[in-house]
Amino acid sequence: MKKSLTLVLASALLLGSAQAQNVTLTVAAFPSLDSAIKAILPAWNKLHPNVTIKLQAQEYADHHNAMTTALATGQGLPDVMAIEIGFVSKFAEGQGLENLDNAPYNAGQYKKLFTPFTIGQATSSDKRFIAMPTDIGPGTFFYRKDVLDKAGVNPLTLQTSWESFIEGGKKIKAKTGAYLINTAASINNVIIRTNLKPGEGIYFDSKNNLLVGPDNARFVRAFTLSKQVRDAGLDAKIGEWSNEWYDAFKKGTVATQFSGAWLQGALQNWMAPDTKGLWRVQNLPEKGFASWGGSFYAIPSKAVNKQWAWEFIKFMTLEQSSQITAFKDNGAFPALLAAQKDKAFSEAVPFLGGQQARVLWRDAAAKTQPIDVNKYDSVAEQIVQTELTNVLEQGKDIKQALSDARAQIARRAR
């Protein structure tokens, strides 16, 4: 009796010490995802007081360079790695991240809970699912209501077709002097990303065939319409993230902007807070739906605390309350479908003149099709951008530019 009591006591002590054992989980992230994590941390700490989160936040480019180096050498890897949309396909093709479809994660059961296209973005060409989506960026069409009203242009006509978009632009320019768009290149960026056929990526198809070229209608149209806008003097010729860009938002010298839904938060918080109530949003022209940003969480294969890493990722991505906290903190649009049903989504957005914009974005996200990604997308993107500039700035022939781009990409995509 006495002996068994001692045994019980001893095992209880052991169990207690095991539970109280402190774990430190390193999480590497970039702005403004780090701010979302900080906002969610109190809830996590309440649930798991013995698991301390060590947040390592670096600037966007520094973070991804550091993660690339860590994956290359297998040294200095965090337990949880945040990945932005621009890098997720590259990281998926590498072999350094856990396949979350496998045990003990078995993430397959959760896939249907997310906005469908994000799952494709985090899946490698050999069908490994390497990261859980946390936020998405539904593509949307911002316009200045005051400028359009002054010009007498109905915003819906800008949305019908690209041709009517340009016609409307001419009217806006003539009546108000405002430019239609910041740069003609953004028209190219929307057209090559939208209305893709199944199995098509932006630059390559699912069988790695190169799509860029003078015979591809999508690229010819994208280049042609961009050129038309430039020739008609409808673009302000200013790049994104420049002082001119912010200035144009403040002064209303540019009437429309294609972007992710997150631009609303940036406009409201720092770019042009004084323009509150002047902006509205609608869907992209010709019913184009596109993904414009997004973030993911992955577990490196050489991470130390994989079990806790998975618990943390589930808490960030599958918990509705976490997703809503991130949304409220910095407008990170939830990837979790259930979180998109929160009542915050049907609330009016004062900055957009009381428009129920989030419902519109939710529908846009649901209609966005998965796009096949390729590890040479960044190579193709740079070459296509350069050739487009040659067309816009130096009057290079469009067919010639596209066949030059094709030749250059084909050499690099080995």
């Binding site: 360079n65 690339t68 180096t69 994956l71 290359a72 050498t73 297998g74 590259k90 990281f91 093709e93 590498g94 072999q95 350094g96 010729k237 200013i238 790049g239 420049s242 002082n243 001119e244 200035d247 590890k375 040479y376 960044s378 190579v379 740079q382 070459i383 951008q385 350069t386 500039t389 040659n390 700035e393 130096q394 030059d404 030749a407 250059q408 050499r411 690099r412 080995r414």
Partner: protein, 315 residues
């Protein structure tokens, strides 16, 4: 015989003694940090990049997962349509636009300071040297504001005299000049300092003798200063060639990763960086690094040849 016996019975010398360590090993121990650091941070990356130049390697696949491709990476870079040539052309063009004026201005300026502004030499040099030690990010942000199309000072001044706005960082033909101006501004002071120190090494006696002979200031500059400055000019030219061929910070921050409109300011170093860290094609990037090294080596040799011709054999 007796000696030999004594030798045989004398106790063996201790294997380790402090005095012996001091004499024989200590120098190696004390100089070893340099060699160890050089091996890790100097020689190893050099060897590794040469190794990678012959392989196809995506760093995300981890160490060891590389594929030998022979000369393919070099063939790719040297292919007729590749961006390597475009980037190299931009680099050389921006290098010439900034490098030649640098020396054309720095040399006479140093001469003027040396001859006529002796009292103010310290403060003048400090002012000229400031851009060189200022952070590149700060400089490019300031110049970005000067060059700004709608809000910039330059276009404001142009507007005052009735000229239209110039898109300094947007028109591919103008961008190299805009970037070169910043590079010129940043390094001209450095060259002035180099030339000043060269001038100070020239003996006053020579100038005095020339003055006695009735030489004018121009004659002194042309027949005394220039020839005696040759070693310093060679040094300054070499530094400019090496520096300009590796130009990265200024165009990268001012025009972005892609080199701005039409990639007009995409230099070789930027193209290598993009290939390695954006496209994750380490082998190709390494091959291009070696080709860039070769280009710098050839240009330096040409510089050396030009300087060692006609009378400069002592250089």
């Amino acid at each position: 015989m007796q000696d030999r016996a004594r030798l045989a019975t004398s106790p063996p010398r201790p294997r380790w003694s402090y005095a012996r360590f001091q004499q024989r090993l200590a120098p190696y121990v004390f100089t070893s940090p340099f060699f160890i650091l050089f091996l890790i941070f100097g020689l190893f990356p050099l060897g590794f990049s040469l190794f990678l130049a012959f392989h196809l390697w995506n760093p995300l696949d981890g160490l060891g997962n590389w594929r030998f491709v022979g000369w393919e990476n070099f063939a790719l870079a040297l292919g007729p349509t590749d961006q390597f040539w475009v980037a190299l052309k931009h680099t050389v063009w921006i290098g010439l636009l900034s490098g030649i004026p640098q020396h054309l201005v720095a040399l006479p300026l140093a001469f003027v300071i040396h001859q006529f502004l002796r009292r103010w030499q310290g403060s003048v040099s400090t002012v000229l040297f400031l851009p060189y030690i200022t952070n590149a990010v700060a400089i490019t942000i300031v110049f970005g504001m000067l060059y700004s199309e709608n809000l910039g000072l330059l276009n404001y001044l142009l507007h005052q005299i009735g000229l239209g706005p110039v898109r300094w960082l947007a028109v591919p033909q103008i961008v190299p000049y805009s970037v070169a101006a910043v590079v010129f501004w940043r390094y001209v002071g450095w060259n002035v300092i180099l030339y000043l120190s060269g001038l100070q090494a020239i003996s006053e006696d020579v100038y005095e003798a020339a003055t006695v002979d009735g030489a004018s200031s121009w004659q002194k500059f042309w027949y005394i200063t220039l020839p005696l400055l040759r070693p310093m000019m060679f040094y300054a030219f070499t530094l400019t060639i090496v520096g300009n061929m590796q130009l990265f910070e200024e165009p990268f921050i001012m025009t972005g990763q892609g080199g701005g409109s039409g990639g007009a300011a995409l230099t070789s170093a930027m193209h290598i960086f993009n290939t390695a860290f954006r496209d994750l094609d380490m082998g190709y990037a390494s091959a291009m690094s070696w080709l860039l090294f070769l280009a710098i080596f050839v240009l330096s040799m040409v510089n050396n040849y030009l300087f060692s011709r006609d009378g400069g054999r002592d250089v």
